[in-house]
């Protein structure tokens, strides 16, 4: 089960990179970035997951060395990462809209005034 998660996250990361490298459509590039992010998020969550563990919510004194729970830190990290991912998507989409206005296209092969 856990192994499957790792495979999936690896697959998502590679898919995201593939999408960024190969697709000439700006929107698809943005989608690629998001997929890349999701892949990493899945990886983080998977790393923190302990099969059979409880939710890491304890009150004072409740926690004992024997208590078995899911690692909370990766979850916190994922939350942050998701927020950042959303920001990246929003920002890049905004840029795509502006680019379309200025260049009249969203084909990356034509958006290359800065080169050489």
């Amino acid at each position: 089960m856990i192994l499957f998660n790792y495979i999936a996250s690896f697959f998502l990361i590679v898919l995201g990179l593939y999408c960024i490298v190969v697709k000439y459509n700006l929107v698809k590039t943005v989608i690629g970035l998001s997929i890349l992010d999701y892949g990493v998020n899945l990886l983080i969550i998977t790393i923190g997951f302990n099969p059979g563990g409880t939710a890491p919510i304890f009150t004072q004194g409740e926690i004992t060395p024997a208590s078995y729970f899911v690692d909370p830190i990766p979850q916190a990290l994922t939350l942050t990462s998701i927020v950042i991912g959303a920001c990246v998507t929003a920002m890049s989409l905004a840029l795509v809209i502006k680019l379309e206005e200025q260049y009249g296209t969203i084909d990356t092969r034509e958006i290359r005034r800065l080169r050489g």
Binding site: V21, L33, T80, I84, L95, K98, I111, R112, R113, L114
Partner: protein
Amino acid sequence: MNMLSLQHFPIYSIMVLFLGAFLIVVFGRSKVVRHSVALLATCASMLFMMGLIKPVMLGGEIISYWMGARVPAGGYAIGIALEVDALSLFFGLLVSTVVFVACIYSIQYMSHDDNVPQYYTLFLMLAGGVMGMVLTGDLFNMFIMVEILTFAAVALTAFRNTVTGALEAAFKYLVVGSIGSTCILAGTIVLYAQMHTLNLGQLAALIPGNLTTSTKLAFALLFIGFCTKAFLVPFHPLAADAHGAAPASISVLISGVLTKSGIYGIIRLTYFLFQSMGLGTMQFWLVFLGSVSMFVCVTMALAQHDFKRLLAFHSISQIGYVLAAVGLSTALGISAGVYHAMNHTIFKGLLFLAAGAVLHETGTTDLGKLGGLSKKMPVTTVMFLVGAAAISGIPPFNGFASKWMIYQASYQKAVESNNIGFLAVTICALVTSTLTLASFVKVTQSVFFGQLPKEYENVKEVPFGMRLAMGILAALCIVTGLVPNYVTRFLTEPAAKAVYHVGAYINSAMGAGYAESVMQTVPVAAEPSFVQHGVWSPVSWLCLLMIALLALTVVATSAKYDKVSLGEATDTKYQLFYGGEKNFYSQVGSDDLFWGFKHNWRHYFSFMHELHSGVVNDYALWAVVALALATLYALVVL
């Protein structure tokens, strides 16, 4: 606890910047408020950093600050820490000083733009991000700060979205920058999976004992992530695009500050987390990357015809120097590297400000359109010349002092290790330095000397605030160049020593004795040696030059050298000699100035031109290939 104890200074210096950003969002409509908030915040941040000089730089203390006072318990660091050792403080000082100067400059430079409150908000966030990045003691925190600064930098690149290419540059930067950030995140989490901690100190203690395949993979990921932030070679087109399109005050931050955060990350990663001091394979990796960066980017710069784009390529070239020097992993090399990092921040800042001044007055940075501005903007010209002399390594400016140390460090390394490879670095660095000079001669001729085009007849000198900002940096250029001994003794050598004192860093974070209890061999801080084989005392040289000049002037005045005949351009006598023809506008500059050189390298230049296609997919591909190569190298060789 006393709120003003030194312990709190690091967090204050980060906080004031973010607080300033927030205040400007809320109250930034008023000009006075936003200017004073921005200036106060940056100035306060700088002062807090300066307050730490005495204990950290001179006293060798390491300040660790735990958010919410959650100190490590049971051998695990749960809380988030700020760790300020001499290396962090060195970069912190650098960042805060340049941010302050850029802020002074912005006030008048940005006066013609709209949405200025947003500019200052993003400006302060960028500054805060970098400060946080260099002062933090937590790997994930580092990632967050990297994201903040990348974000602010992208937004600021696109700030003047009517400028050609600004949006394009921002988008490319965002895509490749995000790949880099994702690499950092992935690297962080892979390390976490192994060590179950994010604290840099604890990681540094745990990693050397558990150097598994996963940790090596994490190393490659983190390394590439920081490389994107420093814009090292496969990522250099982004720097060029972003610097060229951003407002000059932001270019200063991107080149002077953002790239330094990348370098800082690489030093922390290689020498602290993975403790690869003296590891041949790592030296090769860093030095090779540095040398390639310095050479490729300087040749790219020679082919540019836009002022700021040219400067951008030079910044990566100089970062190449820093990385190559740091990669030597000798005390002298690291000291020279961070010295050069500091100098680069200063002179490149100065040059970008000068470019901004030209842009502010003429509205263009195209080298083919400018010319003869020295008569209209004398102060800017002098400032530019100081910066250009510094970056080209003309004695006695600061660029020379650090480059000279780099040559020595690399040559010394070559001789000591009897490895002819390091010799190539020395030669590469020296040649690059001359090529740098060539491209700045080109800029000088194309922008400031030569003939003034008709449309710039009414150009004026820039306002006082901008001149002040340039003046501060120019003064720093001269001062740090004239007293290299003091700079190395009080700033760079403590920073270099800090790189050697990994054990102290760990213990300061995790409590005394932790390093000894966890690690089999604590890297003992042998007193690093900073022996130099060369001799160079700039002050004496300057005195001699002054005496010589004075003597010459005396002779010259007695020979009536000063009696010159001046006249108007309407008198044929004072016109230029055009082979007898009437004078017309004819400016020699821009692209083809070094035809004799470029002709011999024409295949190389056309190849490079083809390679930098400007398509974002290509750049993303380079990033992926770089990642693959780094992973391969890390897994197979390290």
